[in-house]
């Protein structure tokens, strides 16, 4: 009973730090999706060079641990900028480095998801759209994308949850997010109540991922319902 009280108390102390986590996750989801879109387009393009480059990029990123990516970006980018552009970016907010690292990490699975969703739509759909006089872009936008979206959604949500969990590593380069906050609380209590604090932390993450899961399955259901009514 006392433990539960403690956990609730720690929840209250941890929650203010959630906005860092959310800012980092949301911005890397947006940027990562854009990069993933470009990568998927490269994978599907005619040019052999682009295809090879994109697939090498995806397979390398897929095999990179999140923490190594964050560290390499954090220590490597300032050096790179110094040498190539002669600008000093040491003073940047550390959050930017995390966002860049997570964007790179997120773009690889997302590009795969987008590609497989695009390929899962029958070619006849595109041809039919072109047949009735739509431009290729219109066909893509009105016919292919809505269908591919439904296919991609569950996997996309899965990657978002993965990104959220990888985002918990932000603290390793000194951004004060929820994990860092939890460690501070433990340090303030001189090591006491450690597991209760971390349980509160895990609880917050769990609730966020449950919410994403639930939301996605709701959206999926609504789409399926729409599809049925059209079919009938």
């Amino acid at each position: 009973m006392e433990n539960i009280k403690l956990i609730i108390n720690f929840l209250g102390q941890l929650l203010p730090a959630i906005n860092i986590t959310l800012i980092v996750s949301v911005s890397s989801i947006i940027l990562g999706s854009l990069l993933g879109l470009l990568l998927a387009a490269a994978r599907l393009s005619e040019s052999v060079v682009l295809r090879v480059l994109a697939s090498v990029y995806v397979s390398v990123v897929r095999a990179t641990p999140a923490i190594i990516m964050i560290f390499v970006v954090y220590y490597g980018m300032p050096m790179l900028f110094n040498d190539w552009f002669h600008t000093n970016i040491d003073g940047w907010n550390r959050m930017y480095f995390v966002i860049i690292a997570l964007t790179v990490l997120f773009s690889a699975p997302v590009s795969e998801i987008m590609r497989s969703a695009y390929e899962s739509i029958a070619k006849g759909q595109m041809e039919a759209g072109l047949m009735v006089g739509m431009t290729p872009f219109q066909t893509l936008y009105r016919i292919i994308l809505p269908q591919a979206f439904v296919v991609a959604l569950p996997n996309f949500a899965n990657s978002v949850i993965n990104l959220l969990k990888e985002g918990a590593l932000t603290f390793t380069i000194g951004v004060v997010d929820m994990v860092a906050k939890a460690q501070m609380i433990v340090a303030n209590n001189s090591g006491g109540y450690a597991w209760q604090t971390y349980c509160a932390l895990a609880l917050i993450y769990w609730v966020i991922s449950l919410a994403i899961d639930k939301g996605v399955s709701q959206v999926e259901k609504s789409y399926q319902a729409k599809r049925k009514t059209i079919a009938v």
């Binding site: 641990p65 190594i68 918990a168 932390l201 895990a202 449950l210």
Partner: protein, 252 residues
């Protein structure tokens, strides 16, 4: 770029001692989680009362929380828990055991989902056919269903393995001496962090690609039965001829 190459060579030599530790964590986690994952998947599929809810809860809890949080919980809760049972000896335990616990718990959760979807891909007719020829339900499961399910689970098991290899890099938080930890301590002497992490990155790439190759070979070996016996060249060399190319017939 001015990378300190001498230092990179030195880190590469010392960090190689961490490779067995990383592999050990991954292998132990996989080996322990394998049977438990199958068991949990069966509980989910056959909807065993009471237990099913528990398994569902466990899987969603482990998959919904970051590994770092799990590591922190286990690393903070277990030593004091053990302290109550076996006394001061609890603090002398090699931290790698905590790493085993965390990654095994993780692997169980992911493998449960993997086996659940794999067992569902096996057609119901297989079970019925097995029962039909007079096998026991248990026999049918062991001899007919499980081998087929395992083969269709292989790509996902490969993914799980990659996921474990990648996340085992977090074991340094528990002061386990794995690749990342060794590189980190080496780098801390004179702030050559970038060089050290580049070396570690290469190590992880090598390990991950090796694992992928192993699983690719396993998959090719075990899915032999699915490939057609007829060998088709896949390319029609006589596109305009009336005669179709001869297809080689190969015995099994």
């Amino acid at each position: 770029m001015s990378l300190n190459t001498d230092f990179m060579v030195k880190v590469a030599q010392t960090a190689i001692q961490g490779v067995p530790v990383t592999l050990q964590i991954v292998l132990v986690a996989l080996v322990i989680a394998f049977p438990i994952g199958i068991l949990f998947a069966l509980i989910r599929i056959y909807r065993v009362k009471g237990l099913q809810r528990l398994v569902q809860f466990y899987v969603s809890l482990v998959r919904g929380t970051p590994i770092i949080a799990q590591i922190l919980i286990v690393y903070s809760a277990f030593p004091s828990l053990l302290n109550m049972i076996i006394g001061r000896a609890a603090f002398a335990i090699n931290p790698i055991y905590y790493a085993y616990i965390v990654f095994t718990l993780n692997a169980i959760a992911t493998l449960t989902e993997v086996f659940r979807s794999a067992l569902q891909t096996v057609d119901k007719g297989q079970m019925e056919a097995g029962l039909m020829v007079g096998m026991q339900p248990r026999q049918t499961f062991w001899r007919i269903i499980l081998p087929q399910a395992l083969i269709s689970a292989l790509p996902n098991i490969a993914n799980t393995t990659l996921y474990l290899i990648k996340n085992s890099s977090l074991a340094f938080i528990m002061s386990v001496k794995d690749i990342t930890a060794i590189a980190k301590t080496e780098a801390a002497f004179n702030y050559n962090f970038l060089e050290a992490y580049l070396v570690v990155w290469v190590y992880y790439l090598i390990i991950c690609y090796a694992a992928e190759v192993v699983f690719y070979l396993l998959e090719r070996y075990f899915s032999k039965y699915r490939r057609p016996i007829k060998k088709t060249s896949g390319f029609n060399w006589l596109p305009f001829g009336i005669k179709q190319p001869k297809l080689e017939r190969k015995q099994s």
